[in-house]
Amino acid sequence: MLLALAEPTTTYYLILAALVFAIGSVGLMVRRNPLVMFMCIELMLNAVNLTFVALATRFGNIDGQTAVFFVMVVAAAEVVVGLGIIISVLRRRPGATADDLAELKG
């Protein structure tokens, strides 16, 4: 019984992924540093990757595993674009937080 509990099943991975995803989305909402917010988005994408891999292993079909490759490529492209934008903002206004960027409103 105890051994069966210790054996990780797909459900464990899915719950872990859901938790990581929740940490990422809460982090995005409470943190104010653009770089940290961006890292939270990456955390969410990786949580989805974990979900895909866990499900693909359970189903024994390859769709989920190929999806992960595509998501990794997209995440890499997002890093390139995101860091470019964030650095160009921070260079103009060092130490800016998301709350400081409030020129556009109405």
């Binding site: 899915l14 995803f21 990422g24 989305s25 995005l28 653009p34 917010m37 961006f38 988005i41 969410m44 994408l45 949580a47 989805v48 979900t51 895909f52 499900l55 189903f59 024994g60 079909n61 390859i62 769709d63 989920g64 190929t66 999806a67 595509f70 998501v71 997209v74 492209a77 997002e78 674009v81 995101g82 470019g84 934008i85 964030i86 160009s88 903002v89 103009r92 206004r93 998301a98 960027l101 020129e103 556009l104 409103k105 109405g106």
Partner: protein
């Protein structure tokens, strides 16, 4: 272990059928590579190449229309892409919008003294992503198209090196990335229920495994995430918060692009995901779409009426347009073979051209006022530039849905579709909010025609390419508004989608 079971057979690739998107990618690569290797091209040539590329892609999509009539819709590349009239109609809409935006961009970059191939290449790449989204028959392919479009749009929004543009780019990036992650988790949960990401197989899995106890919770959670992700992309209330800031901060031509191509692609994705992939969950997602539609209609038009900046006004007006299109999506949720899908496709085509024209006029006025796009900048426009004021009036009347313009055809289509499916409440709310929105459009018109400018205001310069784009868009708005039968007839076949 998995790989040993089956030998990999490369899928057949239908090169002719995917030629519109190949043309767009090709144009972007030519601009980037040849543009980088050769000295600066003559003024406006980058823009002309872009416009020609978009036109070629649009014509190719048009040529394939008859083929689908003859052979029926099909899926391409082992079921990854759909080849049907919905794809073709939206491809044509996207290409037409890119064509007009490219013309406007020629002048915008010329005035700023920043002529170069980069922005045009980003437009073409974003348009490719949009075409992929509207033709995707696999949720992962759809996600890739979404990201291709979004990543290019983040860069475009931040492309002007002013603090406003950078702020808009950063806001768009953070919120867009968040929405993409939610959407992707939705795909993962749908995969968890159906064991496939292919739209054909997702839909088929519910015909073979019918559950008597209702839908499993996993698919409901996935559906919720998909709707939130798509809601962000189409800027439906309450997921619209990014759109006014981003629309106002981004350069004018980029705003025009976002409002036309971005919206068309996002709604294409919504049709593919909700109506085509998950028709068996329609009783679960339709109420959510109903709520989104009502909120977008009411808040979009109310908030638009109190804005003082015309770009922000048009941003909120695009939120209210999103509400109208959602009315059509809701109708498609009742019956995917009914009026809903054609009305959405027609709305997207007409609205794309309309909105590019509106933003082109705003760009002309803003330039002569040192970048100021507040409503005061429009004072006395009719006495300085009557032709521009007439074009502006045509676009605003059309956005308000006045008869004999394309805007009327579009709004009438979605409301009629809602009535047909007995969504009377939704139809009435849509009509009432159109009245509220009309107030805001009238405010801009009053400022242009009846209010005199304070002091001496320089006469607006109207560059040639922008003038051509505005004339074409205004003529289209009026002519198709008076003779819409051919378009409505062509759009009827959108309901025969590939899956």
């Amino acid at each position: 272990m998995l790989a040993q079971d089956t030998f990999f057979t490369a899928p057949e690739i239908e090169w002719w059928h995917i030629s519109p998107m190949l043309t767009l990618v090709g144009g972007a690569l030519v601009l980037l590579l040849v543009g980088a290797l050769t000295p600066r091209w003559p003024r406006g040539l980058y823009g002309l190449v872009t416009a020609l590329t978009a036109m070629t892609a649009g014509v190719l999509a048009f040529l394939q229309w008859q083929e689908i009539d003859d052979d029926g819709p099909a899926t391409l590349i082992d079921g990854a892409l759909a080849f049907d009239h919905l794809t073709q109609l939206l491809t044509i809409a996207i290409c037409a919008a890119v064509l007009l935006v490219a013309l406007v961009t020629i002048d915008e970059l010329d005035i700023a003294g920043k002529d170069g191939p980069e922005m045009y290449a980003m437009f073409l790449i974003a348009a490719t992503g949009a075409v992929v989204m509207s033709s995707a028959n696999d949720l992962i392919v759809l996600f890739l198209g979404l990201e291709t479009l979004s990543l290019a749009l983040y860069v475009l929004a931040a492309s002007d090196r002013t603090p406003r543009s950078q702020e808009s780019g950063l806001k768009y990036f953070i919120l867009g990335g968040f929405a993409s992650a939610l959407f992707l988790y939705g795909i993962a949960l749908v995969y968890g229920t159906t064991q496939s990401t292919n739209i054909s197989e997702v839909a088929a899995s519910f015909t073979t495994n019918v559950s008597l106890e209702g839908d499993p919770p996993l698919i409901l959670a996935g559906l919720a995430l998909l709707i939130v992700g798509l809601g962000f992309k189409v800027a439906a209330v309450p997921f619209h918060i990014w759109s006014p800031d981003v629309y106002q901060g981004a350069p004018n031509q980029v705003t025009a692009f976002m409002a036309s191509v971005g919206k068309a692609a996002a709604f294409a994705a919504m049709l593919r995901v909700l109506v085509i992939a998950l028709p068996f969950q329609r009783d679960d997602w339709r109420p959510a779409i109903w709520v989104l539609a009502v909120l977008s209609l009411v808040f979009g038009s109310l908030l638009a009426a109190v804005q003082t900046d015309v770009k922000r006004m048009l941003a909120y007006s695009s939120v209210s347009h999103a509400g109208f299109i959602l009315v059509g999506v809701e109708a498609a949720g009742h019956d995917s073979a009914g009026e809903g899908m054609p009305s959405v496709a027609v709305y997207l085509l007409l609205y794309s051209i309309l909105t590019v024209g509106s933003f082109a006029v705003v760009a002309i006025v803003a330039h002569s006022n040192g970048g100021d796009s507040s409503i005061g900048a429009f004072n006395g426009l009719a006495s300085r530039r009557p032709a521009v004021a007439v074009a502006l009036t045509v676009f605003l009347l059309a956005q308000a849905g006045v008869p004999f313009t394309t805007g009327f055809i579009a709004k009438w289509g979605v409301i009629q579709a809602a009535i047909e499916e007995s969504s009377y409440a939704l139809g009435i709310i849509a009509m009432l909010s159109a009245v509220i929105a009309a107030f805001m459009y009238l405010r801009i018109m009053v400022s242009a025609w009846l209010t005199d400018a304070e002091g001496d205001v320089a006469r607006e310069t109207v560059p040639f390419a922008s003038a051509a784009a505005i004339t074409a868009a205004a003529l289209f708005t009026v002519v198709v508004g008076i003779f819409p039968e051919w378009l409505l007839h062509a759009a009827e076949s959108v309901t025969q989608y590939a899956r």
